[in-house]
Amino acid sequence: MTKRKQHQLKGSSLWSLTYAMSSLRNYPIRNMGIALVLAIGISLPTTIFVWSDTGTRLVVHDYFDENTYQLALTLKPNALFDWTRTQELIDAAEAHPYVAYLDRLVSTVGILQNDTLPEWDSYDILGFNYRDGIKDMRTIFVDNNLLGNWSRDFTYEGDFTLSSGEILVSQGFIDYTEEVHGIKLKIGDQIDFDVIAHEQRYSGSNDRNTMNVLPYENFTIVGVYDLIDLGSLIADAFPSVPRKNWDPFQLANDLVLGIRDSIMVLKEDIGKGNVTEISERSYFNSPLLIRTSQDALLAAGAPNVATNLVTFKSQFEEEYPQYSVAGLTGIWELQATIDTYIQSQVLTVIIFPILIMSLMLTIYTSETSVSRRKGEISALRAKGASFNQVFSTFMWESLMLSIIGLGSGIALSFILAPLVGSTVDLFVFDMAAFVRYLSNISIPLVSIVIAAVIAMYLPAAYLLHVAQRIDVSEVGQPMDTSADESAESGSIKRYGFGLGSVLTFLVLLPIIIEPTGFAAVGEILVTTLILFIASYLGSRTMRLVTARVSGGTAFLLGEKALYLSQSLRKRKGQFMPLLVILTLTLTTTTMMLVQTESFKATLQSELAYAIGADMRIESDPKPFSFNETLLRFPGIVDAMPVVETWGQVSDNRFFLEAVDPLRYAQIGKFSEQSFVNNDSFTVLSALDALPNGIVISQYYADLWNKTIGDHLLVYFGGLNTTQVTSFQIVGIALSAPGFGAASTDDLAGASFAAQFGFQAGQGGFALVNIDYLSSITGITEAELFLVDTVCYVDMTPIINSLEEEKNTHVYSVETFNIDEQSSSIRLFLSGIQGLTTIAYLLTAAMGLMAIALFLGSAVLERKSEYAVFRALGGTQRQVISMVFGEFAGTIIAAISISVILGFAFGFALSIMTFGISPFSPVLNEVLAYPFQMMLVTIVAESAVMIAACYIPAKRAGSVNPATALRNL
């Protein structure tokens, strides 16, 4: 028996995608909220990577901008020119991946000619040429490519490009010409000149006929130039010749034939053959200048830019010993800045709480959103949608949201990274720096990968949560499901005790385990975890406290008190996450403010200690009696010279800092931690009492197994000889004002003093008596003076007056410019301040979004409750004030607990932040609580949040009881 069997409808494979897209359109606010919160999470680590990558590129770019060439290869004075070998070198250099281009600079002597000027018969480069009416100059053979490369290095009038028959002249050449011939050359004038292509160097003849002289006529001056930096490799490539031009008794030599006394002419006007001859046989070497490729160097790894360049330089030095290789000045400063950028990437850990908060909020909102759509799922299932279809609908939705979040997160980091880079102080930005960062923005691949991984968190969470939700959804459920929760009756004491225990652990953590290096990173991560636990426990405590307080305010609130107290106890599913998020938001803000200000305060304390006194004067050697000169300045109370010389015990080298101990005790900004077991006055009095006394570092005391009273044989530098003396140890130092750490080996990273340039180099220092050292060495001059001033004096005029003298630098805490003197510290500080600022903005945004999402959805779910209130006779105003009171209560609870938590976490994290910074403080960290700033920021944040509650409260008030109850 057969029967007809119907074919089934297999279902549309594209429906899920189209429905997901329409769903995104239909719930724009909810979906955009999820995507934006996710975007914030994604943007945070990306911002740090974009900032450090862009910053690194910018400093490298600046370095390459300031240095047209990085290397200069010049034939050594006694080396013979070998064309084959030179060509080999040029080929090797040009083929090297690090080389962007190479310029061979050919020049020789040219002699200015004119119809009115006498012909010359003989020429001696070192002769009295000006007296003899011969105006010679360096003639440089260029092409427009070379001029293009040089355009940044020269200032010029007219053009800096050449056509055939045109010539560029230097301002110096014009000046000398006027001096020699009384002619003032200008743009548009025509000149003739002879080029000496072939010097008769070995025949000894100066006769014009023995030289290969090439005459050139009617060249029009089209530009007048001057080299900007006379210390650059271009200047070095065309060194001046010091010469007496007028008579043998001339007092000073004139500097001639250098770049400042030159003309430039096109190679093609001279002829290729002539240029080749000149390059081989002219008066001057033809140095090779190399510009390296910044892209290739960055591609080889930003951390290795300096090392790679130095290795590259060494390769040439080894392979071509007849050439001397110059260049790479300032490369280590560049590397230090790059390293600070790279090390600053570890700052990612301090924004971990915000990252996790955003992910938590993302998942919670999406989870809430899915659970609110149970009715929709049910409807879809009733209409024939299979489990897979519904599932893939949600997965498509999450995927699209994660892609939107990824795009927005990366876009957000393109705004935030320049903000970090342009931070001058908390909430203060340099617009020019912002624009510069923005226009040079670059994003490393690794951060895109990290961002994508974070973005995938949303679909992954959907995968777990949504699958469950779909599975439990039954066909035929109503569209609106509102769960009624019973009031929570937890114990305040229990949560309070939990919170107290967690905070105690937090405060003890950095004390028990010293936060340095990886331990610090680990502790910050643990602290992040504790932050979440504390926020949760704090939120629960505060919810119950607020509920109790509300319950006890019946005399104020009337019947509303009952509603508020019960409502605050109820709905923990809705309000707890909101409370936790808000607590986290406000705590993080407070915590980061404390962290930043503490770093800044520590920086100031380290700066004062590194400078060592009210004023620090560094100069060329001055007699000790300069002290007396200083004391004549109004406002200067005391001053003392410091003699610094090298010292050595066995293989350990350090500096001997010779001071007047009692004066030093008065002038120096000592700390309790300066000396081991003794205060500064006791130790320095002991040093004063014993002429051959010495204060050594704890590190060396341990290394040499010496203690107070022991003798130490020290080799040290005298005036011109090495001397040796037995010193007796009178004290052990950890550090001292003005000299930094007593032993740099004690520090995990570079000391702040080293960053400011005041750390005693090599292995540290030891303190000795200046009188004793002076008497045995004969040293009577010092390069360092420490000065004590009256506290109210304005030191600026004194500083200006002292700095008028050449090579004299005066430092004080008030006038020290960290930006100029220590770009690495500025960079790290700017990183912390920038991150704090953006963290503040982002957490505030997240807080507001959380309020909008949670309270918005709470109002939606409780429509019927409000409708009942209205139906029972409550006015719209009453509903608004009741709901606003409830919501604002939640915010106030969050603020109250977060201030407490903020202080505790600020304390712990401030200490830990030093552990991850590339610099080690010599003194204890200074914890700073910027109460005013905290008050302003928290009040502002809270005001905005409380104000934001009014919107959902207003919506609650506008619920139409007729509609709400009809659709119940």
Binding site: Q6, Q8, W15, A379, S386
Partner: protein
């Protein structure tokens, strides 16, 4: 797209006009240690082009039965035959059931299950879109159904702006959108379709059911408490405590079910006793049964005959310590159950 093919009919025992057959179905829900028997040995057949109503008190298992017929819930024991699959669906996978359901069963619930962000036309179209019906056919069907349910004027209105009756019409059209071309072998499962409608609107919806039933030949299985609904059914079944306690032909009166009730032996030769009759007889628990003059005669027994064989003794309540009388299982003092 619906098409047909010739296949070997393994379920040939069922007549051609059977749309769904439920055979000796049990449904037991387990919640932690507690087992709830929702259906106990239910058997029935839904016939092509007929309207079957289910009546019974709340919690009697009506919705469970609907879900089992619709393949949403699987029966713990028993068979459910779908004419389109020509097989027992209790052994089929979720995927097969979903695909088979699309062109065979439509759902109408009291809550309507309309998506608020879609308009009436889109709500009707949604099921066809999910099923993958080509656009042209889909549009033609939706237009036809919208016209049939009289919503042409309101088709562009969002679901939230429609009245209760209009929403019901949309739900009906939506349930039929994939069944409309199945040449009669379709079933609409309705759970309280007129529950939240006023009698006048409800009447109009019922007339629409009837009209659709007659014009499209679609079968209806309706769960209801309403006399209005039950009175238009071809067959009504009574369900109580998970057991089908009676069948009724057309034109029943819910207040006088005893007058039209027919009881049917289940697969285990058990006969459900109508509760109203039991109440009339003083809730006897034991009967003497005999067959005389072509009639079964049940005589209620005074006293518990079967229990006389059990040794009776007084017991003490474990909760309050009071004495519980012989044969009683509930403490008269504290209400605890023994």
């Amino acid at each position: 797209m619906v098409s047909t093919e010739e296949t070997l009919d393994l379920y040939g025992a069922y007549p051609d006009d059977v749309v769904v057959s439920v055979e000796n179905v049990y449904k037991i829900y387990k919640k932690s240690d507690l087992e709830v028997v929702a259906l106990s040995g239910v058997s029935l057949q839904i016939l092509e082009g007929k309207i079957m109503c289910v009546v019974g008190p709340s919690g009697s298992g009506k919705t469970t039965l609907t879900n089992i017929i619709g393949g949403i819930t699987k029966a713990t024991v028993g068979k459910v035959y779908w004419a389109n699959l020509r097989t027992d669906i209790t052994k089929q996978s979720e995927r097969v059931l979903t695909e088979a359901r699309r062109s065979f069963i439509g759902f109408i619930f009291q809550v309507n299950n309309l998506l608020p962000h879609l308009n009436a036309w889109q709500n009707v179209e949604l099921a066809a879109r999910i099923a993958g019906v080509p656009k042209k056919i889909r549009q033609e069907r939706v237009n036809r159904l919208i016209k049939l349910v009289g919503l042409e004027e309101r088709k562009h209105n969002k679901a939230t702006t429609l009245s209760g009756g209009e929403r019901s019409r949309v739900a009906i059209a939506s349930a039929l959108v994939n069944l409309i071309d199945t040449k009669g072998k379709g079933l609409v499962l309705c759970d309280e379709p007129t529950g939240d409608l006023d009698p006048e609107t409800a009447q109009r919806i019922l007339e629409l059911f009837k009209e659709l039933n007659e014009t499209l030949g679609t079968s209806f299985f309706i769960v209801t408490h309403s006399q209005q609904v039950a009175s238009m059914a071809d067959v009504t079944i009574e369900i109580r405590d998970g057991i089908v306690s009676g069948f009724h032909q057309k034109g029943i009166d819910l207040d006088e079910l005893g007058g039209t009730r027919i009881v049917k032996l289940d697969n285990n030769y058990r006969l459900p006793m109508p509760v109203d009759l039991l109440e009339k007889a003083g809730n006897p628990t034991e009967f003497k049964i005999s067959f005389e003059n072509n009639r079964f005669i049940l005589e209620p027994q005074l006293g518990d005959v079967v229990d006389t064989v059990r040794e009776r003794k007084a017991r003490t309540c474990r909760v309050c310590g009071s004495e519980i009388a012989q044969g009683k299982f509930i403490c008269s003092n504290c209400g605890s159950t023994v």
